[in-house]
Symmetry: C2
Subunit: 336 residues, 2 copies
DNA sequence: ATGAAAGCGCTAACAG
DNA sequence: CTGTTAGCGCTTTCAT
């Protein structure tokens, strides 16, 4: 029975087993052969004392903390937990843990989070923040810490980039609606296309162009990234002289607002009006009718991030920077 | 400019500033006076080298890692990120970081997570897992690590307990509906009341009893904890000879199923049928009509947990174990 | 107001 | 196959 409130050290184990600390160390991490008899004595001592190797001490010695830092705006935003889980899918089995810091999008907090990560000797950093100057990442890069940036498009030496294919996703969504026979599609976008939303507009227009369809400026409305915004934007489209029979929204929350608009006008969805969202949030399956949407591949992004970090840490990857684009996936729910 | 790939140590700083490591240490954490002149030289050196104290090394010396472990089933379940954020609200400002482990509800993973936490020298553990034997927590307790259990009702020496007031919340919800003039209330519950759901049934019945209303067994239906379950359960209630005009569901997802049932039967909500949920998930505001519900105080629970951990770590709290019950909050959205 | 030295728990040369 | 020794970066007596 381990004694209360006291952590046994490798030395205590060695003492009890009648061997040196070195031998205990090697039985534990197999860096050199240990005789079966000795191994058993060591293992017994460990068992008896309830010994667990001190990861911090090991890290001090080996200069590897087996920890990676994840810096995000807000774990409460449902996108990030999934991302975090994706990172852990890959890094967890390799013995890494992650520490997460929320910045609420404040630059000062982002910066201090990075310094904290350095102070904690993280082996790698996953940085999921949109608006950051390249300068802010200088310190970790100079320290030789691998940094992966999640989202955004800024290519920067020393920083690997992973993001979803918003452009391709929107292009696919638009193509899907066109294939369903809707030749005029409304697009409900944010105030001014920023971040991923900009790429989504681009993708939408790209498909129209590729299919030889002239872009109608009146079919693209700018509004808020919210349920109310989606409602207002859709109503504007429905009030057009020749309203579209299908609307594509920049995200699911706006699409839910579009459903409100349809209900308000007594339109059947998708009979009278087809509505598509983007992201595949949980609520997409909880509204009626359920939303057809492009699944934002948060988990895959996290996994890709984890793999890159692992490759950097093992030396399997050495280039100055890479870019990984994870495809969005069409999720059909409205049988239009 | 800091040199690439090399972390300066306290010794390097001391050297550059022309003082001893001791003095650098003390300028940093103010454990003894340092002359203004010296302080400036040290700070300059730190700035120049881009030095950050190694938290791991400090922890090795002080036997405090400034880290707490959070063990949960799945960060992807929207309840837990909010909980985690609550914990950080309190612990973050005190200089603690948290490492999170997902167990997917598997006992073996829960156990190994606990051992990992010990190996990482966490200063405290927040354990949010329903079905765990008291035995599993023995090791951390024996090591003298404060453990807070989140959810569940098991009172155990050495383990502080924090959970939401599911019973009181359901009692309040029932009272609210009665106050609205609904004298017969249907309750849609899970297969067999387990976990928090059991307390919610208890609370519901308690209010009925308190108001002198006889319990009608037929008004309590058992079904699945899902949207489909909520739909089926509500239909069963609506098919009763004297159907209730109000239904209270054990969670929001089921309540959304209840909305489906109303729509299917052409009933206006809340005009013909009032529907209440429990938890206040994001989707509660995204369905139509929005759900009146009892907000599960995840963030408050996390904060309470953080405060307890902090008190235990500072020695401000010393009893063998405590129980904290965080009230659920009524969120009115259907103006019935 | 400042330094020297020891030691936290561990791993990795370097012996044998 | 096993042990001795040094040292990772830091804090903390004990001196001065």
């Amino acid at each position: 029975m381990p004694s209360r409130g006291h952590r046994p050290s490798i030395g205590r184990v060695a003492e009890l087993a009648g061997v040196s600390a070195t031998t205990v160390s090697h039985t534990l991490n197999g860096h050199r052969p240990v005789s079966a008899a000795t191994r058993k004595r060591v293992l017994d001592a460990i068992e008896q004392l309830g010994y667990r190797p001190n990861v911090l001490a090991r890290g001090l010695r080996t200069a590897r903390s087996q920890t990676i830092g994840l810096i995000i705006p807000d774990i409460t935003n449902p996108f990030y937990p999934v991302l975090a889980r994706g990172v852990q899918d890959v890094l967890g089995p390799a013995g890494y843990h992650e520490i997460i810091t929320n910045t609420d999008g404040m630059r000062e907090l982002e910066r201090s989070a990075l310094e904290q990560m350095i102070a904690r000797q993280v082996d790698g950093i996953a940085f999921a923040v949109f608006h950051t100057h390249a300068d802010d990442l200088r310190h970790p890069i100079d320290m030789g810490i691998p940094v992966v940036r999640l989202g955004g498009r800024l290519v920067q030496p020393g920083v690997d980039l992973v993001h979803s294919d918003d452009e391709g996703g929107a292009a696919e969504a638009t193509g899907y609606l066109l294939d369903q026979g809707y030749d005029r599609i409304g697009f409900v976008c944010g105030p001014q296309a920023e971040g991923p939303a900009a790429e989504r507009v681009t993708g939408h227009l790209a498909t129209l162009a590729r299919r030889g369809l002239p872009p109608e400026p009146s079919l693209i409305v700018h509004t808020q990234f919210s349920r109310a915004g989606g409602l207002a934007g859709t109503l504007r489209l429905l009030d057009l002289p020749r309203p579209p029979r299908a609307v594509l929204c920049a995200n699911d929350v706006m699409a839910i607002g579009a459903l409100d608009a349809a209900r308000q006008r007594g339109l059947d969805v998708p009979g009278d009006l087809a509505i598509m969202g983007f992201d595949d949030i949980e609520a997409a399956t909880l509204v009626s009718p359920q939303l057809t949407t492009m699944a934002n591949p948060a988990r895959r992004i996290g996994q890709a991030c984890g793999r890159i970090l692992l490759d950097r840490l093992s030396g399997a990857m050495t280039g100055p920077s890479s870019e990984t684009i994870v495809p969005a996936r069409l999720v059909r729910r409205q049988s239009a």
